[in-house]
Amino acid sequence: MNFLQIERGISGIQPDVVFRIMGFPISNTTLLLSFIALVIFLFSYFKIRKFVWNPSKTQAIFEMIYEGIFGLVNQITGSRKLTETILPLIGTLMVFIGLSNLIGLIVPGLTSITYDGLSIFRTPTSDFNTTLGLAVACIAITHVASIKDWGLLGHLGKFFQVKEIYLGFKQSPGAGAMAIVGFLIGLLDVIGEFAKIIALSLRLFGNMYAGEVLMVIIFGGLAYALPALWMVMSLLSAVVQTVVFSSLITAYYALSVKPSGEVVSG
């Protein structure tokens, strides 16, 4: 490689272990994830609690972000009461995942800090463990919300629709046959839940990991001016993936609770 190109190994799918705490391995993605969580917590504790009625410039920016997230969630759920219930969850998800995706691009040179040959920081969502954990936790939250609203039997009744078979045959044999088809579709919904988890985690992981790999390849090709194009694409894809993840979780949550009788305009 001459001075026009930078050579670096493509990071593997499994993250590198940086150190161990009492036998528990801490990888470079976990380290950065903990730092991001700590920074968000400290910032909100020391700055956001001091927000006043007449906003300064930084406060106005944060209020704009808040209103953007509120508008997005309100559009998907269609009910203001449900939006106010889940806005803490969705807002946290968006800020957390958004910051994790963007941190490799906004802070320059973060992934080049190496210790002993390994880089000690790596984009947290480019690790399948992170995205799988997030997806499993969020789908579990939708299931818990469904059990709270419909009760345990009602929640299971969504997947095993035996009551509809009984009601259908009471009506007519034709409706009974349709009810049996409905029962089989309800069984497929169980597989659909696993498909949701896999789709959510793989989408976020694939986008971030592919972005990283392509960045290394482009730096190996030409290290001047060309990586800037891919960095812009990476910025766009980071923001789009946070919005997609959060709006999908909102949509799944809105589908799993009882529909509220509100009339929405616009």
Binding site: N207, V213, V240
Partner: protein, 72 residues
């Protein structure tokens, strides 16, 4: 056929078919979005935002194929 050449063939076929399918689907989606924007230009901004989300959803199967490419 040896394992290594079979693996290379599999990588190529997986990526090509996935990319072709995803490109056709996204082109259709974006075309329909533009058509709708032409019929109702007032909500063009809202349609564009939703189109971006739809494109990210349609892209996801191509991303699965990309991950499979690195796993193979």
């Amino acid at each position: 056929m040896e394992l290594e050449s079979a693996r290379l063939f599999a990588k190529a076929i997986v990526m090509t078919i996935a990319m072709a399918g995803s490109a056709v689907a996204e082109g259709y989606l974006i075309g329909k979005a533009f058509e709708a924007m032409g019929r109702n230009p007032e909500i063009a901004d809202s349609l564009f935002t939703k189109m971006i989300i739809g494109v990210a959803m349609a892209e996801s199967t191509a991303i699965y194929a990309f991950v499979a490419f690195f796993l193979l």
